[in-house]
């Protein structure tokens, strides 16, 4: 328990920070990269979008580890971390949809 409490300040917030940050960056890249990707053989946007999904899930997992404290009765910190874990999953879902759109739509489409 004590070890988890020490972990909380960093990893408990991971779901709040990593996923939303990756999503914000990916959303911006989605506006910039199509001009580069039109006609190119390699599409960095697709790769970066996929990476964003993984990062977000990683953030969710880090928060999830701390959320176990709630189940063991320590209450509030686990509550915050549980929301972080779920938030990471929600943002990962949004980015997964963005990744799928990159698979289906070409960078040249206007």
């Amino acid at each position: 328990m004590a070890e988890n409490t020490r972990l909380f300040p960093l990893s408990g917030w991971a779901g709040y920070v990593i996923g939303p940050a990756a999503w914000a960056v990916n959303t911006q890249l989605g506006q910039i990269l199509p001009y580069v990707e039109c006609g190119a053989s390699f599409r960095p946007g697709l790769f970066l979008s996929g990476l964003g999904v993984l990062l977000s899930l990683a953030g969710a997992w880090l928060s999830y580890r701390v959320s176990g404290m709630r189940l063991r009765g320590s209450g509030m910190p686990g509550f915050v971390a549980s929301i972080g874990a779920l938030l990471g999953c929600l943002v990962a879902f949004a980015m997964m949809l963005q990744t799928l759109s990159m698979v289906m739509v070409s960078g040249c489409a206007r």
Partner: protein, 637 residues
């Protein structure tokens, strides 16, 4: 401790209940009459004033809507010319968004957040008073301009180049842009107050997982306000600079970018929808348990939904720009986020349905408004998913389909919950109940009037009727449907008038309410109706998320606060453990004078940029007066 010192630092522990109430009343009271009117910093009085003003603007905006419906009720109607029609739809949209929807939601937050958290006043109460006066000034600027026939005529979004110097001569667009500045200052002030109040002034024991859901909603909303509103402040300032100083932020011929306006405006404009919607869902989550007689189902997923919606709200703005020629793959990113934000909305709907399913519904008026919300908001959400799709949005863009969609979302998603909230908390603020019979008539008129007014607009939009047209030719197939819509809008208006009449009548002659007439669970019902100026005689201690249900009505209390000066209990951010005592400012007229000085500066800066330089001097003088120590017990603490 000497007797003099004891008198100066008299604590609530040393007094019995009657003496304590009398000492607290002396310390926290607002002077009667005009002096009190202009100087009060009581969050309840300011909030009620805010709410009444916002409803006045709702009625004014409603009158404009009726005028538009009268004009469109038949083809080639000559009641309103194109210039006046442009002003009317601009002032209608601006009033409803900037002077009604956002302010009224924040005002309900100002009213209820301190009461729900068990504290005696909001953080930065003088800033709160300043916020109201600035908001009122912004509303007056817009409406005085409209009455003088110089109202803005560029739409509530004021797209460039239409609103730029090339196409909008005169001062109409400047008035719109400066009205934005007024209302954004007011909104940002409240957002900061709410964030600090929630983080530091919660009752002891109210840890993050025990905060009422309405407070969570206001907390998330406040962050959305703080992050979104600077974008529109930047945009409107750049527009004024283009128009007044000759900069070229939005002029492509000189290296500017017209599309930059849309990006900045909608980066604010879409979160704006959630600034209105999130408080409404917080209201639902706080009201619903009372009327199904059980705690809310899924507290944690509901908090997640609020935070998730608040974050994803910032990734949707381009879905307002699908027809501007951006790369399709970029647009599809915003389709993705628009679809994803349906997930937290769906989570909330299912949590509320589960709460009702597991409870024992009591069919009172606030609950009926919640049911009206379910029906209309789900329909609006479904058409929202439709217009999030690029091909469909391209077809229905700028048609009445979009008008129908956003009225379903905003009226269904925000106004019905707001009316439920007013009906529900009316008893707390006035000590009287609103009439149940008149309330049921209001619900019926509003629900039927709203759906019959706005549902046909979907069909009109699919038939190709564009928005913002002041008339249409007789050979177009829209006449019959428009007449039907216009007639039904009268029923909607009657519903609102009946609601207002019910409120006015009940405030004077309604049935006495008592402290907790609905048998609710949250802390605002633990004090008297209406609450005293100090809110709580002793600060309650919280041991669960539903303190009035779980503690059997007998709340433990914290003691040790001074009664000779306005003092609050400060608690830790996460666990809400008592941390410090902090003073709360006394009444002051300086926020009013600061608002007057700011108003003069902002209005004059419509005409000359030098007003910013010279106008800042009186603003600085009023701020010095605002913060100048006066030797009160609060200053000496």
């Amino acid at each position: 401790m000497s007797e003099a010192l004891e008198q100066r630092d008299l604590r609530d522990t040393a007094l019995d209940e009657v003496l304590l109430e009398s000492r607290l009343a002396r310390t926290w009271h607002t002077p009667p009459g005009w002096v009190g009117f202009f100087t009060t910093v009581d969050h309840k009085r300011i909030a009620v004033r805010y709410i009444v003003t916002a409803f006045a603007f709702l009625l004014l905006g409603g009158v404009l809507a009726l005028l538009m419906r009268l004009q469109l009720s038949r083809p080639e109607a000559g009641l309103i010319g194109p210039d006046l029609y442009n002003q009317i739809f601009t002032v209608h949209g601006s009033t409803m968004m900037f002077l009604f929807a956002v302010p009224v939601m924040e005002a309900v937050g100002v009213l209820l957040v301190p009461l729900m958290l068990g504290t005696r006043n909001i953080a930065f109460p003088r800033l709160n008073a300043f916020s109201y006066w600035i908001y009122l000034a912004g509303g007056l600027v817009l409406w005085v301009a409209f009455v003088l026939d110089v109202g803005p005529d560029v739409g509530w979004f004021a797209y460039v180049p239409l609103s730029g110097p090339q196409y909008s001569a005169g001062k109409r667009a400047d008035i719109w842009a400066q009205m934005i500045t007024f209302t954004e200052i007011a909104a940002l002030a409240i957002a900061v107050e709410i964030v600090v109040t929630v983080l530091k002034q919660r009752a002891p024991g109210m840890s993050l997982d025990r905060i009422p859901l309405f407070v969570w909603a206001m907390f998330v909303t406040s962050f959305v306000v703080i992050l979104a509103m600077p974008a529109v402040v930047v945009a409107s300032t750049a527009l004024i600079l283009d128009r007044l100083v000759g900069t070229h932020f939005f002029n492509p011929a000189e290296g500017g970018d017209a599309l930059l306006w849309q990006h900045l405006f909608w980066f604010f404009g879409h979160p704006e929808v959630y600034i209105i919607f999130l408080p409404a869902v917080g209201m639902i989550s706080s009201i619903l348990p009372t009327f199904v007689r059980r705690p809310i189902f899924g507290y944690l997923p509901l908090v997640l939904a609020l935070i998730g919606t608040g974050i994803l709200a910032f990734g949707l703005w381009v879905h307002h720009m699908f027809t501007t020629g951006l790369p399709r793959v970029g647009e599809s990113f915003f389709t993705a986020s628009s679809m994803a934000i349906a997930v937290p909305s769906g989570v909330q709907i299912f949590c509320w349905l589960a709460t009702i399913w597991l409870g024992r519904p009591v069919w009172r008026v606030p609950f009926l408004y919640i049911l009206a919300f379910f029906f209309t908001f789900v329909l609006g959400g479904l058409t929202g998913v439709m217009v999030a799709s690029v091909p469909l949005d391209t077809q229905v863009h700028d048609t009445y389909f979009v008008v129908a969609h956003f009225h379903y979302v905003l009226v269904g998603g925000a106004v019905f919950p707001l009316l439920a909230a007013v009906t529900y908390w009316f008893s707390k603020m006035t000590g009287r109940m609103m009439s149940e019979r008149l309330g049921r008539w209001s619900v019926a008129l509003l629900f039927i009037g709203f759906n019959f007014t706005f549902f046909p607009m979907h069909i009109l939009g699919l038939q190709g009727m564009p928005r913002r047209i002041y008339t249409y030719q007789a050979d177009l197939p829209w006449g019959g449907m428009n007449l039907f819509v216009s007639l039904c809008s009268l029923a909607l208006a009657a519903g609102f008038l009946l609601f207002v009449w019910n409120a006015l009548r009940s405030a004077r002659a309604g049935e006495a309410a008592g402290d907790n007439p609905w048998g609710a669970a949250t802390l605002e019902w633990a004090t008297s109706s209406p609450p005293p100026p100090y809110n709580f005689t002793r600060i309650p201690v919280v041991r669960s998320a539903n303190p009035l249900w779980d503690d059997g009505g007998a709340l433990p209390v914290a003691s040790g606060l001074s009664v000779n000066r306005r003092e609050l209990l400060i608690t830790t951010t996460a666990e809400a453990r008592p941390e410090a005592r902090e003073t709360s400012p006394r009444d002051s007229a300086w926020p009013f004078w600061a608002a007057i000085a700011t108003t003069i500066m902002l209005v004059c800066s419509i005409f000359t940029p030098w007003a910013v330089v010279w106008g800042s001097i009186p603003v600085a003088v009023t701020l010095v007066g605002w913060f100048w120590p006066r030797g009160t017990p609060e200053d000496d603490s």
